[in-house]
């Protein structure tokens, strides 16, 4: 049983397209996150939801829109994709204030 799952695992698309990444966790955690990892492996938080409420919204272009339909799911929609959006996007979950983050396998996005 996968604790945090993401789809798709790989995403290759043209500049200007719109794409979505989905994430689900079955750990019963109350908080979910989106992280971006660039080519230098730097991990930067983008968004966080606690019980479906947005609690962290970093300086991210508004082309990125997260959505949490329930506390087990967090999706990320990206409009008008740009070359600089190429990266690995990790979903993660945790019980806020109690322990570490559990990361999904990542979505490798390549914008051509």
């Amino acid at each position: 049983d996968t604790a945090v799952s993401q789809t798709p695992k790989y995403l290759v698309t043209q500049m200007g397209n719109d794409k979505s990444i989905k994430c689900e966790q079955n750990l019963g955690h109350d908080t979910m996150y989106w992280y971006k990892q660039d080519s230098k492996k730097f991990l930067k938080i983008m968004f966080s939801y606690n019980n479906k409420e947005l609690i962290i919204n970093e300086t991210v272009p508004n082309r990125f829109s997260p959505k949490s339909p329930d506390k087990a799911h967090l999706n990320l929609h990206i409009n008008s994709l740009e070359l600089g959006d190429s990266a690995v996007y990790f979903c993660a979950s945790s019980q806020l204030g109690a322990g570490g983050l559990y990361f999904g396998p990542g979505t490798r996005l390549l914008v051509l």
Binding site: T31, F42, S48, N50, F90, G97, G100, Y102, G104, P105
Partner: protein, 114 residues
């Protein structure tokens, strides 16, 4: 803003040797976490340190939190090829605007030669 420095950026280790990676913060921390990411994989949570001067061990890994809660170290003894990967520290800050937010270090990329 808060700054985090993780050193070294790269660590080339002979199998069987020990090495240490360090994480330093410009401000006092509420907690620090350590993660390991294998090549092509995702970060995996290793441990969380909360108390000043805390030392925790996991087999060959020893984690330490500084007395001033501004720095931490991860020491690995008798390195094995399975230790290959990037080790990240992640800092939890005390300020209310950082509540729930972890700031990751740049990572120490470890290569082990047999």
């Amino acid at each position: 803003g808060q700054q985090v420095m993780q050193i070294p950026q790269y660590q080339h280790v002979q199998e069987g040797e020990d090495f240490t990676t360090y994480c330093n913060s410009s401000t006092t921390l509420s907690n620090i976490q350590w993660y390991k990411q294998r090549p092509g994989g995702h970060p995996v949570f290793l441990i969380q340190l909360v108390k000043s001067g805390e030392v925790k061990k996991q087999k060959r890994l020893t984690f330490q939190f500084g007395e001033a809660k501004k720095n931490s170290s991860l020491h690995i003894t008798a390195t094995q090829t399975t230790d290959v990967g990037t080790y990240f520290c992640a800092l939890g800050f005390m300020t209310t605007d950082s509540w729930g937010k972890l700031q990751f270090g740049a990572g120490t990329q470890v290569v082990v030669t047999p």
